[in-house]
């Protein structure tokens, strides 16, 4: 009788074990910060595992993703700059070719329903195809990338660990990259500690700046991500290349010159600013909103209230607002060894 019970217990254990390959590890998977909303990314279609994350990270820093094996995702998305390309107004890709837009940060992308400055990509899994195939970024095909990875000594084994077999497919390649990218969560700024009630408090300038922010900025840069993920024309003068922004993907005239509202998180690390990196400093950004807003087609209604273009900001308000915005910097995120090239 005792043996029989023992056998039954073993059977039950085996049945459970068959479903759970991973042994307990320190890796905690995807964790939603307490002050964040439900992610837009469909994690149920791509559950983050340690092996998948490690593979995704290796792929993120893999120059074989480019035609001549020189450019990786990490080339234009540098961790110390909150995964932007510091010092470059527009991205600088293969053979020194230049793009037309500024590298956006890889940060909190699980909460971003549409990717790119124009929202042309609607699923994070589909996003890496763009830089891989773009002639001025990596200039490669996904098909070639897969064949290079198949010949690499490490990748087939890593795909087996992440997906159960060494086969490298488009879907697996893209899902591994997504597993790394959704894990790049920035939620440990001073602001986050304050709103989560973790014992930190704002200084009086920061608090005053927060009040100004809530009155004058948060309609677009909505908390807690500091973007409402909408597309707006913020009154930039139209550049010579006449980048029409969201219009190019919707062909709707009302979208002409609209671009995605960027997050304000980590703004100390992500200069230069705007879709084409035209402003090198936050002072220049403040100058734009307070004095230089142009009445171009589809200018956002919030920037033309009572017949006045832009947002009024006194010198004192600028100081306080800047103090608050600096609380959105997350040093832990830009130094987290989990996200660094290994």
């Amino acid at each position: 009788m005792r043996t029989r019970i023992y056998v039954i217990v073993m059977l039950i254990t085996a049945a459970f074990a068959a479903c759970h390959k991973e042994v307990a590890s320190l890796f905690r998977g995807f964790e939603k910060p307490a002050n964040f909303n439900t992610p837009a990314y469909k994690l149920e279609n791509n559950p983050v595992t340690e092996a998948g994350f490690v593979l995704g990270r290796k792929l993120f820093y893999e120059p074989r993703l480019s035609r001549n094996n020189t450019i990786s995702c990490g080339s234009c998305h540098i961790q110390s700059s909150a995964f932007t390309q510091h010092g470059h107004d527009v991205s600088h890709g293969i053979d020194d070719r230049l793009g037309s837009r500024n590298s956006p940060p890889i940060m909190n992308l699980a909460w971003s329903p549409l990717l790119m400055w124009d929202g042309g990509v609607f699923d994070l899994d589909l996003q890496p195809i763009v830089p891989i195939t773009n002639h001025v970024e990596m200039d490669e095909t996904v098909e070639n990338v897969i064949s290079k990875l198949q010949q690499h000594p490490d990748y087939p084994g890593m795909f087996r660990q992440a997906f159960g077999s060494p086969e490298i497919t488009t879907a697996r390649l893209l899902k591994a990259l997504s597993q790394f990218m959704v894990m790049c969560i920035s939620s440990n700024s001073k602001y986050d500690s304050v709103v989560r009630g973790q014992g930190t408090v704002f200084t009086s300038d920061e608090q005053a700046g927060y009040e100004i922010f809530k009155t004058k900025c948060s309609a677009c840069h909505a908390e807690p991500l500091f973007t409402d993920n909408s597309f707006r024309n913020n009154g930039l003068s139209i550049a010579n290349n006449n980048d029409e922004g969201r219009y190019t993907v919707t062909l709707n005239a009302a979208d002409r010159y609209r671009f995605k509202v960027p997050s304000l998180r980590n703004l100390a690390y992500t200069a230069p600013y705007m879709h084409d990196g035209r402003f090198y400093t936050l002072d220049a950004v403040f100058d734009h909103y307070s004095r230089q807003v142009k009445n171009t087609p589809n200018l956002d209604a919030l920037l033309q209230r009572n017949g006045v273009l832009g947002i009024t900001l006194t010198t004192a308000e600028r100081v306080q607002l800047l103090a608050f915005l600096q609380t959105l910097n997350d040093r832990q995120f830009i130094t987290d060894p989990r996200f660094s090239e290994q």
Binding site: M1, A18, C19, H135
Partner: protein, 270 residues
């Protein structure tokens, strides 16, 4: 241990095992099936299409040659003479027709035996599949191709339904120094905001040209003529001089409306 206890334990343990297995396949149908192919014979007016070497003239009086022609055919369904409809299972109903590539000028299906009098398919990729998880986009739908022969727009997530490129002395010199025209037509209607929808459903009556008789041990071939001259000559007269490059733009709707009429059932080889 009583027999009842053992039964309870077995009932408890059994679902643990089944929860790990993949969905069971439905029992295979006992319905008799046989082979049916659909041939896409690309022509230009009264001539067979010859890539690179053939020279043709459109209704605008412009001469041109074609060096690339490929399009998606999907969501195939067939009507039997008895009124029943057979729809090819969605997961295996996406095909890329490529001129000049062996085995890419026809699709072969296994369908229930019987007589079919009408054929319907989508020229392009439906919006549902266009927005589906990447793991469900294998085979012809795998977006791993390059910029030249690929049928996918990365920058504006979606498939290119129809791609035709070639040369015409009437087309202005492009940045590569060639008089090249490029028509890359797509647009499934938009994911987050409505935009152009160039998905076309084509329905062809097979009765005048001969019904498809699908019988055991035989292959029935529905032979379609696909006249790419219709791309230029239709409700809009498309000029290579005026519109040499048409991709994701409002004008693409005119080309899609034109090419929706390019399929004609010629005959059936039973």
């Amino acid at each position: 241990m009583t027999i009842h206890k053992i039964i309870i334990i077995v009932l408890f343990v059994a679902p643990l095992f089944t929860s790990c297995s993949k969905d069971a396949q439905p029992p295979s149908s006992t319905e008799e099936r046989s082979s049916l192919s659909i041939e896409f014979d690309n022509i230009v007016g009264g001539q067979n299409l010859q890539l690179n070497t053939g020279s043709y003239t459109n209704a605008a009086g412009e001469t041109f040659s074609v060096d690339r022609l490929q399009y998606f055919v999907s969501n195939i369904s067939l009507n039997k003479t008895d009124g029943t409809v057979y729809t090819v299972p969605q997961d295996s109903s996406y095909f890329l027709v490529k001129e000049g590539e062996e085995d890419a000028d026809h699709v072969t299906l296994s369908v229930p035996t019987g007589e079919y009098s009408s054929l319907s398919f989508v020229l392009g990729v439906d919006s549902l599949r266009s927005t589906m998880d990447i793991a469900k986009r294998t085979g012809a739908l795998d977006p791993s191709g390059g910029m030249d022969d690929g049928m996918y727009w990365g920058w504006n997530s979606g498939y290119i339904f129809f791609k035709m490129e070639g040369l015409s002395p009437e087309a202005p010199v492009d940045p590569t120094g060639k008089h090249k025209f490029r028509y890359h037509i797509g647009g499934f209607g938009g994911y987050s905001a409505p935009t152009i929808n160039n998905i076309k459903t084509v329905t062809l009556n097979l009765t005048p040209g001969g019904v498809a008789k699908v019988r055991q041990g035989r292959n029935s071939n529905i032979h379609l003529m696909v006249d790419v001259l219709k791309v230029f000559n239709g409700s809009t007269t498309v000029s290579l001089a005026a519109n040499p490059q048409v991709m994701f733009s409002d004008y693409s709707v005119n080309i899609a409306n034109n090419y929706a009429t390019m399929f004609r059932h010629d005959h059936t080889e039973n």
